[in-house]
C-alpha cells in the first residue's frame, strides 16, 4: 500500500498529477484510509502507469477515462480496447522515430558548437544558427 507521495516517486509523476488522475476517474476502485487519504495498491499503480503511458502518446485524459470505462464494462469491449491500443501502438512508434530524430538533431548541434569552441574552422556555421550574424 502506497501513499500519494510514494506513488509519485515510483511512477515519476508529481503528487499533483496523481491526485488529478484519480479525481478524473483514471484509477477505478480507489481506496481511502480512515483519514480520507488515498491509498494505492499494485492494481492502482498499474492503472496509473497505463494512464501515464497513454498520456505520453498524446491521448487526452478524457479519452483515457473512456478507455478505463471500457475496461470496467468487461469482455464485451475487448475488441474495442484492442483497436485503441493498436492505434496507440502506431503513435508510439512514430514518437519513437521522432525522438530519435530529435536526439540526432541536438547531438549534431552540440558537436557543431563544440567545434566552434575548439576553434575549428567550419564552413557550415548554419548548423549552429550562426544565422545570428547577418545571414549570407
Amino acid at each position: 500500500m502506497y501513499s500519494v507521495k510514494q506513488a509519485a516517486e515510483i511512477l515519476h509523476l508529481t503528487e499533483h498529477t496523481i491526485r488529478y488522475y484519480t479525481d478524473q476517474g483514471l484509477v477505478p476502485h480507489m481506496k481511502r484510509d480512515k483519514n480520507n487519504n488515498r491509498i494505492f495498491d499494485e492494481a492502482s499503480l498499474k492503472w496509473l502507469e497505463c494512464a501515464k503511458h497513454l498520456r505520453k502518446c498524446g491521448m487526452s485524459v478524457a479519452d483515457i477515462k473512456t478507455y478505463v470505462n471500457l475496461c470496467l464494462e468487461g469482455d464485451s469491449t475487448t475488441q474495442e480496447r484492442y483497436d485503441i491500443f493498436m492505434k496507440q501502438k502506431h503513435i508510439a512508434q512514430v514518437q519513437l522515430e521522432e525522438a530519435k530524430e530529435r536526439a540526432t538533431y541536438i547531438e549534431e548541434k552540440t558537436e557543431a558548437y563544440l567545434d566552434i569552441l575548439q576553434g575549428v574552422d567550419s564552413d557550415d556555421m548554419n548548423t549552429v544558427n550562426k544565422q545570428a550574424e547577418p545571414f549570407k
Copy 2:
C-alpha cells in the same frame, strides 16, 4: 520562399503554431510580403525546426526565445549556447529511452489483447487491465 501553409506542411506543425512561434519572436528577421503575409526562407525554416525540436525536449517557448536572443548576440554567447544544448542533449536521450519503454509497454499490451481475442488462455490477464472485472 514559403507561405505559412507550406512551412506547416514541411515541418509538420500547424499553421496556428507557426504563427504563434513567429509572433513570439522565435524566428528572427521574419519577412513579410507586400500584403503583410509571412514569408519563410530556408533560414526561417531552420529557426522553426530548431524551435520545434527544443519544444519537444520540453523547453518553454520563453526559454527558446532566450536562446534565440543569445544567437543574435553573436560569438560572445557561444559557450552559453553550447551549455544549453548539452543540457538538452541529455534530456533528449532520456526522452528517447522513455519513448522506447512506452513503445514496449504498449506493444506488450497489444499482444496480450491479441491473445485474448484469439482465445489464448492466459494467466496474466493483468497485462491488459483485466482488472476490469472485480479484482481477485
